[in-house]
């Protein structure tokens, strides 16, 4: 049985195709049209697996763009999809931290892999990928280079949680000669503290799995581990756990 999961986020659109015991993945920028992004992913996955669109038995769509894909048999929230995807990869998972482009969320799972509680950031970019992106722009580097550029020996504390104020704070620090690496370490700590407090509010329980585009950043993982005092696992393909969950749920729905 062939099923497809789409996770259309604010920054990136992700797709996972489950076909003949194989997992095919694609990620592209969402751009201005979530519908086009989804269609492009479907085309790309179909050609990767060398199948026809008609071969797909079922599709589930999640993420902020979920409502625009009428072709989907069902839309499911990112929360349920991440839980399904991560629990498939790590059956012992109890806490998922997912940091994406515009929101960060913490999901608590029962031993059976069911969502028992969750928390999401309010309407504010603090502790999200957007926060790091704005900061990277101001520092003149690509967001993907933040992690290797951090200098833990010169970590400074960034006090502002607000993206706009943190940016001006950072500009002031640069003006007074603080090192870029130290500022970046401070930014990672700031995200770690913000999201770490969300985890503590729900109650920290191991195993902790860190997903979403921001999980690629080793500096944020380090900061979260420091904040929570526990090891955190970042899955290979940490961006794809939502789409994987969607594809698995599409399969579950058929059986």
């Amino acid at each position: 049985m062939t099923t497809l999961g789409l996770d259309i986020g604010s920054v990136a659109a992700k797709g996972v195709l489950l076909h003949a015991e194989q997992r095919y993945t694609t990620v592209i920028p969402t751009g201005w049209s979530p519908l086009d992004a989804g269609n492009n992913i479907i085309d790309s996955l179909v050609s990767k697996a060398n199948i026809e669109k008609e071969d797909i038995s079922n599709m589930v769509v999640t993420g902020y763009g979920r409502v625009v894909h009428q072709a989907a048999s069902k839309t499911v929230t990112e929360i349920k999809c991440h839980a399904r995807g991560v629990a498939e990869l790590y059956p012992e998972v109890r806490t998922i931290i997912d940091i994406g482009g515009q929101d960060s969320k913490v999901i608590k799972l029962s031993p059976e892999g069911k969502v028992i509680d969750f928390s999401m950031n309010d309407k504010c970019a603090a502790g999200t990928g957007r926060f790091l992106q704005v900061m990277a722009n101001a520092l003149g580097i690509d967001v993907s280079q933040l992690s290797e550029a951090e200098d833990l020996t010169e970590t400074v504390k960034i006090n502002s949680m607000c993206t706009v104020f943190a940016e001006s704070e950072m500009v002031n620090l640069l003006a007074t000669g603080t090192s870029r690496g130290g500022i970046i370490a401070g930014l990672h700590d700031s995200v770690g503290q913000r999201v770490g407090s969300m985890v503590k509010r729900l109650g920290l329980e191991a195993q902790v799995i860190f997903t979403g585009g921001v999980a690629i950043n080793q500096g944020v993982k380090r900061a979260l581990e420091k904040e929570l005092g526990t090891n955190i696992i970042v899955p290979d393909g940490c961006q794809f756990t939502g789409a994987l969950g969607a594809a698995l749920l599409a399969r579950d729905l058929l059986s």
Partner: protein, 378 residues
């Protein structure tokens, strides 16, 4: 045979604007109030019409923010905005405005509202079971009685108050009866229907007809078979800050996503419906004071009756999940959410706290959270 519909309740507000205008022309007095702590019975006993003025719409907030801070509860801003723009007919027609010292935001706003129209303030204690503060509350009831007599040029006798007490006791019983219909499974009323019926009550000029309407509505529903489509919907209890038409976004999202708000434990809903004036007491003022001090608003500290009420409602309404709605910057409900969360977790059902305002800017993010809670119930 009567056939009262939800629409009849929806129309109460509009119809009564006209009735109040006509009443005013014939010399009837109107008293505006902002809170369920204000004893409507005394206003009825003064032969005046009590009307609820709490702002539940987004539109006047921009005007309010010219004076009030942005980071303030939207209900307070909306209420003030309606007053300052003179866009609420009920405020416009009010001869007297009564406020209470419920929360800090409201009481400081009332000081500024006083520039538009005089606001009479009742000193509400923040503790329910202390003799000294209860004595203050009784004296505040008496002071209001005197104020109404002077301002409206009437004499309020004990008999007048007892008569009004009977009217309000009956009205609360009827409103509770309608709310309790949703204990049925499947529930006969959607969240929006329940809100429309219960919220519209505060705009009536005739509490007795309203009571009859509520009872006839309940009679009709009890006779009807409930549509099976409501059968498997997750049953949601809404608690927290007040909600009215104009700010029903959370209720609407739950309904749209396939859930059903079966009950509302907030001051526009069930919070006050069980409370009856004790008619066996000798002094009607004391009866009023005793009833009103029991209202389990988060401005009370501590506030044990809210927990007791929620605990019972979760069982009685066979609730699958609780949504706790906090209007932005409402500190008392926001902090009390911690205690409510503990109770709901002990009952082993999902709990979701939402902090939002009257705007639609966060609809998508609210949808994700609410949908995720409904998924947890499935």
């Amino acid at each position: 045979m009567s056939n009262i519909t939800v629409e009849d309740f929806f129309n109460i507000r509009q119809e009564n604007i006209i009735k109040i205008k006509e009443g005013k022309e014939n010399g009837t007095k109107v008293v505006g109030l902002y809170c369920t702590y204000c004893p409507e019975e005394l206003i009825l006993a003064a032969n005046a019409i009590p009307v609820g003025l709490c702002g539940t719409k987004e539109e006047p907030i921009t005007a309010a923010e010219e004076t009030l801070p942005r980071n303030l509860c939207p209900l307070i801003k909306s209420s003030y905005g309606f007053a300052v723009e003179d866009t609420c007919p009920f405020f416009h027609f009010s001869d007297l405005i009564i406020g209470e010292t419920t929360c800090d935001g409201k009481k400081k706003m009332f000081e500024i509202m006083d520039e538009i129209k005089p606001v009479y303030i009742m000193q509400l204690p923040n503790i329910q079971d202390l003799d000294t503060t209860f004595a203050l509350w009784v004296s505040e009831m008496r002071r209001l009685r005197t104020k109404l007599e002077e301002a409206l040029n009437v004499k309020i006798t004990d008999e007048d108050i007892w008569a009004a007490i009977e009217v309000i006791n009956n009205e609360r019983k009827a409103a509770k009866r309608v709310s309790d219909l949703n204990q049925m499974d499947p529930p006969p009323l959607s969240g929006e229907e329940l809100l429309t019926v219960i919220w519209s009550r505060s705009f009536t000029t005739d509490k007795v007809s309203l009571t009859n309407m509520l009872n006839e509505f309940a009679d009709d529903i009890e006779k009807q078979a409930v549509a099976e489509t409501n059968a498997k919907k997750p049953r949601i209890l809404l608690t927290g800050c007040p909600v009215g038409l104009g700010t029903e976004k959370v209720i609407k999202i739950v309904d749209d996503l396939g859930g059903n708000v079966v009950a509302m434990e907030n001051c526009t809903g069930y919070k006050t419906l069980e409370l009856q004036n004790d008619t066996s007491l000798a002094d009607p003022i004391e009866a009023l004071a005793r009833k009103y001090i029991q209202i389990p608003c988060s401005c009370m500290s501590p506030n044990p009756y809210r927990l007791e009420l929620l605990d019972r409602m979760i069982d009685d309404f066979k609730v699958d999940a609780v949504i706790d709605l906090t209007w932005q910057a409402c500190h008392t409900y926001n902090i009390e959410a911690y205690t409510i969360q503990k109770l709901v977790r002990e009952k082993e059902i999902p709990y979701l706290q939402l902090e939002t305002d009257y705007s639609t800017s966060d609809i998508e993010s609210l949808k994700v959270r609410i949908e995720a809670v409904l998924e947890m119930v499935e």
